[in-house]
């Protein structure tokens, strides 16, 4: 799997916002303590969903122009040329 920033093309680090259900409690000194976190979104679903693609941003330049290649070894040109050869 590869993620490529179409803007800067340099970074291999990307940011993805995710919603989590946070269970917290009030302490006696008025502070908050987090006691449990439950993810509300599936990361794999979000990565494969084209609608959520814009939410991924490049850590380096902040651009949302990102391209995800799930199988970089799957080259369609090779398949086409192999079929043409047959």
């Amino acid at each position: 799997m590869q993620i490529e920033c179409l803007s800067c093309g340099k970074s291999n680090e990307f940011l993805l916002p995710l919603w989590t259900r946070t269970t917290f409690k009030f302490n006696e000194d008025d502070t908050l303590s987090i006691i449990h976190l439950r993810p509300l979104e599936s990361m794999s679903e979000k990565l494969t969903d084209n609608k959520s693609l814009r939410e991924i941003s490049c850590k380096e330049c902040g651009s949302n122009e990102v391209d995800i290649v799930f199988n970089e070894y799957d080259n369609q040109d090779d398949e086409v040329s192999a079929l043409e050869g047959l």
């Binding site: 799997m1 940011l15 993805l16 916002p17 919603w19 917290f24 987090i34």
Partner: protein, 163 residues
């Protein structure tokens, strides 16, 4: 704001009981169904970092130098929402026509999953609404006394000095 029109007085009594039972803890929010005032749930957005390379994907907290931005963002967002609900109270509630009651749009009870979470006490009440003019008029006598005190405050005789 009335959460349930019928048993508001009963609710008020129970809330007062809560204050008496636990004086050390200042009750910030309370669930109107199970009277829990400690454990709540809120949906918070946080950031995760994806590092892709050589065929695999690493998911981790976002760090800028040594600062963990993911954890900081989660705590800040949680604190912001809680403080917003405590400050706004009425603005954080939405009317649910099915249950015919106001529900909290952001925070729910972690014990019974009810969304009827509000501040335990609200200064604002629809039945006790008073216009600013009426309030000033009602307190006019008190203000006159205050003005009189202010006028003569520096002219009081000093008793411990011999005239």
């Amino acid at each position: 704001m009335q959460l349930q029109n019928s048993n508001t007085e009963q609710a008020g009594n129970k809330i007062s009981a809560c204050f008496v039972l636990e004086r050390r803890l200042v009750v910030q929010l309370i669930c109107h169904d199970c009277w829990n005032y400690t454990y709540f749930e809120v949906d918070v957005e946080t950031l995760r970092e994806l590092k892709a390379g050589s065929g695999h994907l690493v998911v981790q907290d976002t760090k800028f130098e040594d600062f963990n931005y993911s954890q900081s963002m989660l705590r800040d967002n949680l604190n912001d929402i809680v403080q917003y609900v405590i400050k706004q109270n009425g603005a954080a509630l939405i009317w649910n026509p099915e249950s015919e009651s106001y529900q909290n749009n952001y925070i729910s009870c972690a014990r019974c999953e009810s969304k009827k979470v509000t501040k335990p006490y609200s200064h604002w009440h629809s039945n006790r609404h008073q216009s600013l003019d009426n309030e000033i008029l009602a307190n006019h006598k008190e203000f006159t006394e205050l003005r009189r005190e202010k006028k003569y405050a520096n002219r009081m005789p000093v008793l411990w000095e011999k005239q």
